[in-house]
Amino acid sequence: MTVIAPEQAASTARGSGGRDVAPAGPGPARMARLRRKIGDNLQAYAFLAAGLLCFGLFSWWPLVKGIVLSFQQDNFVTDPIWVGFDNYRAVLDDPLFGTAWLNTLEFTGLALLFGFAVPFVMALVINEFRHAKGFFRFAVYLPVMLPPIVSVLLWQYFYDPGTGLFNAVLSGVGLPTSDWTQSPKMAMISLVLVSTWANMGGATIMYLAGLAGIPGELYEAAELDGASIWQRVRHVTIPQMRFIMLVLLLLQIVATMQVFIEPYQLTGTTNEETITVMVLIYRYAFTVNNDFGLAAAMSVLLFIVLGAFSAVYLRLTRKAD
């Protein structure tokens, strides 16, 4: 097809030398091969350089720095002092430590109750529809596209005890109203409701993808055996969906344990009813304490907990590959 120039032909021959030329070649050929190999590697690392720099500076280095910082006291003026486990002790002694973890667990638990079960049931029903499936997929995912602060601020107006839409509707149909985010009992549930509304589209779409992949013969066979709809869900659908449910469960735990924007905007960083681990880290570093050591120690603890879930997740998905 193309006429190969002599020097190009020579260079390709050298380039594939690793495969074609016998290893015990004469000296000069071996040198050329080595030089070629070094050149190739230099070129490859030139392509990788920007990526390595970004990962190195903003992913790997902060990980090391975070761990180091958790054992230091650093005011960023004088040299940092090593304080051993003092930061960890201070964090564990903080009365807010237990509060923040319990609140985070409460949020995660409630978010799973709504955000795990509801999308599954919705997907199960939508998957049976022979009409308007596109509308349902569009509608449920629309809130996921909004900036989270938009969802949260919009719901803040809905929740307003005096002028909000929710109380107007509730009192309109004769139901008791609520103080929502301003009531100690309802505050956490209010946060979970916004979060679920804003995020459940993702899980629903993924469940729908999983449901579409279940072979129809399984349902056919179950029906021939006289299985009712409920029995088919129990003995066909759920076992077939077990893997994807488990994956979403883990992803959701990791995501909801990092909840921040809902308490930050709706109830504030000083409200003890809704202080979460992330809010506490934010307070340690940026508002109340201005102490990055405490924040780093708390971050390491959060990392250990979430890392365990992530590790299980990665093991599962890699096995599936």
């Binding site: 193309t2 190009q8 190739d40 070129q43 490859a44 690392y45 392509f47 990788l48 920007a50 390595l52 970004c54 990962f55 500076l57 903003f58 280095w61 902060p62 720095k65 975070g66 939508i126 049976e128 022979r130 308007a132 349902f136 997929r137 509608a139 995912y141 809130p143 596209m145 909004l146 900036p147 602060i149 938009v150 601020l153 919009l154 107006y157 005096g162 839409l165 107007a168 009192s171 509304w197 779409i205 993924m206 993808a209 129809g216 349902y219 088919r232 066909v236 994807i244 921040f260 924007i261 990055f292 924040a295 780093a296 971050s299 979430l306 890392g307 992530s310 590790a311 990665l314 590959d321």
Partner: protein, 295 residues
């Protein structure tokens, strides 16, 4: 979907008298519920901005604006400077997208096709960052951006504070590398014989073949940067350079904003993403579904 593939309930059951009635009822109920739950709040947001502040706060609420105040959108745009924050956000999103593509495509190409010594170690290190919850790195990453090691520069309140950490995106590298892996090496070798350099191979052969992967990575990069909140909140504290999300949060806490202006701001912040969703709905939802099946 063909008639052969069936789901939980069979076609026969749905066509029978009572089955058909139940199907119609459930379909109707779900359609109403979805409209109320997911579309109505957005309708409320867009029309709320058109009402007067008093009407917006009145009980019982009005479903349709009694008097029209479309100028609220202009007020929000100018007085609250929503226009400026929107431009900031778009600039960060597009710049971040471009840098992510350049950095991550080059890295994925090197790891997939050039395969340097220790390439697998590098890949492992990058993918390991998928395991790191963003939250746990927040404080040290903030300190790093405030004084970047080796270079000693302060990136706070500059676009680079979003762009450079954003380029360290393991998801992009993973998706792109998997896609590049499927491009046969023979194809590159035969072009290489014609004297094309590494860069020309990437530009003329690999990239044109990788449009689907590039599309997925691009769409999710733009959506991700538009939705980001906590990181821009920390690194862009100067009101002049804030994103629309951070600015809306700040404006909401100052209390000097009327409710209808706030609604206008929320609507303006949402419109670009709603348009993106309408245009790329198929790619977004299918990308998500593919992710679900692969795990």
């Amino acid at each position: 979907m063909s008639a052969m593939t069936r789901s939980l309930v069979s076609e026969a059951d749905l066509r029978r008298g009572s089955g058909r009635l139940i199907y119609r009822l459930v379909l109707g109920a779900m359609a109403v519920a979805f409209t109320l739950a997911f579309l109505f709040p957005l309708y409320w947001m867009v029309t709320g901005a058109l009402k007067s502040p008093l009407e917006l706060a009145q009980t019982p609420p009005t479903l349709w604006p009694q008097e029209w105040h479309p100028e609220t959108y202009l007020d929000a745009w100018r007085r609250l400077e929503i226009g400026k924050f929107l431009v900031n956000t778009a600039f960060y999103a597009l710049g971040g997208w471009l840098i992510q593509l350049i950095v991550d495509v080059a890295a994925a190409y090197a790891l997939s096709k050039l395969r340097p010594v220790l390439g697998n170690v590098v890949l492992g290190g990058m993918l390991a960052s998928l395991m790191l919850p963003a939250a746990a790195l927040l404080v040290p990453a903030y300190l790093t951006v405030a004084e970047v090691p080796i270079f000693g520069v302060n990136l706070l309140n500059t676009p680079w504070a979003l762009w450079l950490p954003g380029a360290a995106n393991a998801f992009n590298i993973y998706v792109l590398k998997r896609f590049f892996d499927q491009i046969p090496n023979d194809l590159l070798d035969s072009a290489g014989i014609d004297g094309a350099g590494r860069f020309r191979l990437l530009w003329h052969i690999v990239l044109p073949l990788s449009r689907p992967a590039l599309a997925v990575v691009s769409i999710f990069a733009i959506i991700g940067s538009w939705k980001d909140f906590l990181w821009p909140l920390l690194v862009l504290q100067d009101p002049e350079v804030q994103t629309i999300s951070v600015a809306l949060s700040r404006l909401a806490s100052t209390g000097r904003v009327t409710n209808n202006e706030m609604f206008a701001g929320l609507a303006i912040a949402s419109i670009p993403m709603v348009i993106v969703f309408m245009v790329f709905q198929r790619s977004i939802l299918n990308g998500l579904s593919a992710g679900a099946l692969k795990g």
